[in-house]
């Protein structure tokens, strides 16, 4: 069963300094042609699957809300049409940026069946926002959330970042306080990662970027985990926190190693045992859809070994961990058959906890996750 669908809107009004997603300046792009192609891809994609519509839908980008009101309405209508099914769809998320949210868009989303919003805030500090290339302010973020609530959106997730250049503990604290104050149901907090082909990367190469030390980053991470926990927002994945029963169902599909569609330019999918990637360039994507109805440019059949490895290094990202019983059911062999030594060593190092038939990261393991995940590559 293909549980989720991801839809990519690769247009932005400006480029943030840290972003390495597939995105393009919206000016002069063939937006409508793209959205039409997207519509066709979704139609094709679902038709090849005999199952019901997916349980989760996630529209991300780029900046989905950067579309004009008309284009946005067209897009929401098309997604709703092709993917949404009353009763089947459990979670329908759209990513929004505070500076281009307006009543019209909120209305369109409500009618389309959207029941969750993910807001890109990153920080509530105006100075830091400029430092990282964001084009909104603390105030506009607060207002956007208030507006969304007015429209009845009661499942709101806020994106934050830490380890930003020059960021102090106080600034992080202020953002966390704001999150509490706004009563967000869900928070995603990422430590800044400098990726190639980003503005920050170029600056770093030129020696023009000062990043906080690993120790400061680690201190911040530990602090925010404890702070949020103390206020009822529990960590359920390496970078994701939620109040009870408000975990992101869509993202859990990734960590549960389940299948999902990926629609749009550069989107990744996992369907019928294959990990697939779509063409990244807009024109290339449109052309392929027009010619073949599909835009897949890469396809990899996941082997059993790979699937097992993924089960582990994705599953352990969840704090609840991986169930030995479920592993057995999925692979017809106990976990210990392949991982006995690795598990033993990691438990001995204090990175992994074995309890009640589940394997999960210890507190130390959360910080040194990569050391753990690596051990599960056969």
């Amino acid at each position: 069963m293909i549980k989720g669908a991801y839809v990519h809107i690769p247009f932005c009004e400006h480029i943030c300094y840290y972003c390495d997603f597939n995105k393009y300046f919206i000016q002069n792009q063939p937006v409508i042609a793209y959205l039409k192609a997207l519509d066709e891809e979704m139609a094709e994609g679902l038709s090849s699957s005999l199952h019901a519509k997916p349980e989760t839908i996630f529209i991300g980008g780029g900046t989905p809300t950067a579309l004009s009101d008309e284009a946005f309405a067209f897009m929401m209508d098309s997604v709703s049409n092709r993917l949404y099914e009353e009763g089947d769809t459990k979670e329908f998320t759209v990513e929004i940026n505070p500076e281009n949210l307006n009543p019209l868009k909120l209305d369109v989303m409500k009618r389309a069946g959207v029941n969750r919003l993910s807001i890109g805030v990153q920080t509530f500090d105006d100075h830091l926002l400029t430092e990282i290339g964001r084009k909104h302010t603390r105030q506009s973020a607060i207002e956007a959330i208030a507006l969304a609530r007015q429209y009845g959106f009661d499942n709101i997730s806020i994106d934050l970042m830490f380890g930003l250049p020059g960021q102090s503990k106080q600034q992080l604290q202020a953002s966390l306080d704001e999150v509490l104050f706004l009563q967000a149901q869900h928070v995603s907090i990422y430590s800044l990662q400098i990726e190639p082909r980003t503005i920050f990367y170029n600056r770093l190469k030129k020696g023009k970027l000062t990043l906080p030390s690993q120790d400061i980053e680690a201190d911040m991470y530990g602090y925010l985990i404890d702070f949020l926990a103390a206020h009822g927002i529990k960590q359920y994945e390496i970078s994701n926190f939620a109040i009870s029963d408000h975990e992101s169902q869509h993202n859990l599909i990734y960590w549960n190693n389940e299948e999902y569609y990926g629609f749009g330019a550069g989107a990744h999918g996992y369907v019928h045992g294959k990990r697939v990637v779509n063409a990244r360039a807009i024109k290339g994507y449109i052309r392929r859809i027009e010619e073949q109805g599909r835009a897949c440019v890469e396809s990899h059949s996941v082997t059993i070994q790979e699937k097992m490895e993924e089960e582990m290094f994705l599953g352990l990202r969840k704090l609840i961990g991986v169930s030995k019983q479920q592993f057995l059911k999925k692979f017809h062999h106990p976990m210990e058959q392949y991982y006995k030594e690795a598990i033993k060593a990691l438990v001995a190092k204090g990175l992994l906890v074995e309890q009640d038939g589940w394997l999960r990261l210890s507190r130390k393991g959360i910080f040194l996750g990569n050391e753990v995940f690596e051990a599960f590559l056969i």
């Binding site: 991801y6 997603f21 990422y190 430590s191 990662q193 690993q214 120790d215 980053e217 680690a218 991470y221 390496i238 970078s239 993202n251 990734y254 960590w255 999902y260 990926g262 550069g266 989107a267 990744h268 999918g269 996992y270 990990r275 990899h300 790979e306 490895e309 993924e310 290094f313 994705l314 990202r317 190092k349 959360i366 910080f367 040194l368 996750g369 990569n370 050391e371 995940f373 690596e374 590559l377």
Partner: protein, 609 residues
């Protein structure tokens, strides 16, 4: 038949080409090959004489190759040339001397812009020692900076050879090649020697082939050898029946016989390499010669290092690799040794640093074994207070300070040729390496030859690299062992996470111990990745800690984002991390990358660069 042989003998010319690195030896050899074997031109890959990949990659020649060529001279006669290619690097003078003993003459190539350099000199002396006729060839005359007349004068003044008839060439552009060939005919004497006399053939190299057994490379001094003859190795007295004889064109071509002046190969189902010895004489079993040819002096290794497999399961593979390499490289020495930190490995002796690097690369590449190389060291003579004297080739074996009366280390006489502008810099470098100046000779208004006595241990690592980088590549170096001298040397240990790591011990001069210790602990801090606990690093002289640094514990190493689009990338990241770990060796509780063991010596702060 006999008369035919005698006539043919008069038309043989055996020669080598000697030159400083990069003066165009291999290109000239190519041109000579082309001119005398035009058919080969199509098949020929550039610089074909450098048969091994490694050689071609580094642009240097390592093994000898002896090629037979035919040249139709201006006098209408057909001459038989044997070109024996030689390495140009200071490490391989042993190889050079071997090939020279098989020749009557040598082409001495000097770069028309660079002029006479240190290596040139060294090889010329070897040639003169062997009584060869030396033909100066001034190459690269096509360069705008070429000054053939100046260089001719240099050759006369510095070497003492008459260069008035020196041949001017540009091997790259193909100029002067015919002149070279004619001069070879005119100036290099034909081999003397009696084709009918008892067989005397000099083995100047050997190669092991799994099918044919040992292939000996020989030069016939007297007599004739045919397929089917019974031969005797004079050193061991062992007898064999000749299976094949032949020459290289450069491909091996079988012949019925080899006679005086011929240079080629001989196989006789010789199964064990120990049955033949380079420098030995092959003679007839039925009509043996009474006197063997003077053999070679075995060159002693100058530089030692420890070679350990990263994966201890590969120990036997490493042993086999060394055995195989030794077959074709009799100057390689090795013996088993153990390190507390690294397990089982070998202490290996090399002619020099380049030799060491080549062997390491060959082991990694041809045998697929990941290696840890410990710092190169030299042989020390240690006199204990009780009076006993011993040799130490491994710093970790140095006895306790109180037991030592005196330590002597090997010194070399280094000749450095450099342009005037860099004299100060060169002197500073040598002084910082504990050198004592012997002499300084101005060769002409631009260049100086500076001679220093320097401890070998200070040369073995990166002296040459520093010399080159501090003089923009203009300086050249040659050195030879010049005896032992007592020095104020101490053993410095490196203690990692509380454990003394024997493989990292070094012997240093007491005055430099602190600076060296500090550099090493700082370097290790850079190279060793953060572990899951704090790691103190200390440098110690005996019980006394003289420098320290600390590697902080790893606090965070986890990928923050992992959504649908990140999964394949995440996988690659983890795989790369895992691969990286493979190149690490667990030393106590600390994961140490291979490079750390050697790189502790890459200290770029001992001299200004």
């Amino acid at each position: 038949m006999s008369e035919e042989r005698k006539q043919r003998q008069k038309r043989i010319r055996n020669f080598s080409i000697i030159a400083h690195i990069d003066h165009g030896k291999s290109t000239l050899a190519d041109r000579i090959l082309e001119s005398t074997n035009p058919l080969l031109k199509r098949e020929m890959r550039a610089q074909m004489l450098d048969a091994m990949d490694l050689e071609r990659e580094r642009g240097i020649t390592i093994k000898l190759n002896a090629v037979q060529l035919t040249y139709k001279a201006k006098d209408g006669q057909e001459y038989i040339f044997h070109l024996i290619d030689t390495p140009g690097h200071v490490d391989f003078s042993y190889e050079v001397s071997r090939s020279l003993a098989a020749c009557e003459g040598a082409l001495l190539i000097v770069d028309a812009a660079q002029g006479v350099e240190a290596q040139t000199l060294a090889n010329v002396y070897l040639a003169l020692d062997n009584d060869l006729e030396i033909i100066p060839v001034i190459n690269k005359i096509d360069l705008p900076s070429a000054e053939p007349d100046r260089v001719k004068k240099e050759v006369e003044d510095v070497i003492g050879l008459d260069a008035s008839d020196a041949v001017l060439t540009s091997a790259k552009s193909g100029i002067g090649i015919d002149d070279v060939l004619e001069t070879i005919v005119e100036k290099i004497p034909a081999p003397t020697g009696n084709p009918d006399g008892p067989l005397k053939a000099l083995i100047f190299d050997s190669l092991y082939d799994s099918y044919r057994g040992v292939i000996t490379y020989i030069r016939i001094i007297d007599g004739t050898v045919k397929v089917g003859d019974r031969i005797k190795m004079m050193a061991t007295g062992k007898e064999f029946e000749v299976n094949e004889v032949g020459v290289f064109t450069p491909k091996p071509v079988n012949k019925e016989e080899l006679t005086v002046g011929d240079v080629g190969f001989l196989t006789a189902a010789i199964k064990k390499v120990s049955d033949t010895r380079v420098g030995d004489t092959i003679t007839s079993a039925d009509h043996p010669t009474l006197e063997a040819l003077p053999g070679y002096r075995r060159m002693n290794p100058m530089v030692f290092c420890g070679l350990y497999p990263v994966d201890s399961n590969n120990y036997n593979d490493l042993r086999e690799a060394l055995e195989r390499l030794e077959l074709n490289d009799s100057s390689l020495q090795y013996e088993a040794e153990t390190s507390e930190a690294l397990g089982f490995g070998f202490r290996c002796g090399f002619l020099g640093l380049l030799h060491m690097e080549i062997i390491q690369e060959r082991i990694e590449r041809e045998f697929g074994i990941d290696l840890i190389t410990t710092a190169p060291s030299v042989i020390y003579h240690v006199q204990l207070s009780g009076g006993e004297v011993g040799e130490i080739d491994n710093p970790s074996k140095m006895p306790e300070g109180k037991m030592i009366e005196q330590v002597e280390e090997p010194y070399v006489k280094a000749s450095i040729m450099t342009p005037n502008d860099y004299v100060g810099v060169v002197m500073e470098l040598c002084q910082s390496k504990r050198g004592e100046m012997i002499d300084m000779v101005y060769l002409d208004e631009n260049r100086v030859n500076i001679m220093y006595h320097i401890p070998l241990s200070e040369i073995v690592y990166d002296f040459f690299d520093h010399l080159k980088s501090n003089t923009k590549g203009y300086a050249s170096l040659d050195y030879e062992l010049s005896g032992y001298k007592a020095s104020n040397l101490v053993k410095m240990d490196i203690v990692l996470n509380g454990e003394k790591i024997d493989a990292l011990s070094v012997i240093v001069h007491r005055d430099f111990a602190y600076a060296r210790g500090k550099s090493i602990v700082e370097k290790l801090k850079e190279l060793i990745p953060r572990q899951q606990f704090e790691v103190p690093i200390q440098a110690a002289l005996g019980q006394k800690i003289i420098a320290r640094s600390t590697i902080k514990a790893l606090r965070k190493n986890v990928l923050a984002k992992c959504y649908g689009g990140d999964i394949s990338r995440k996988r690659k990241l983890l795989e790369k991390q895992k691969e990286g770990k493979k190149r690490m060796k667990m030393v106590g509780r600390v994961e140490v990358p291979q490079e750390a063991f050697m790189a502790v010596l890459r200290l770029d702060d001992t001299t200004k660069s």
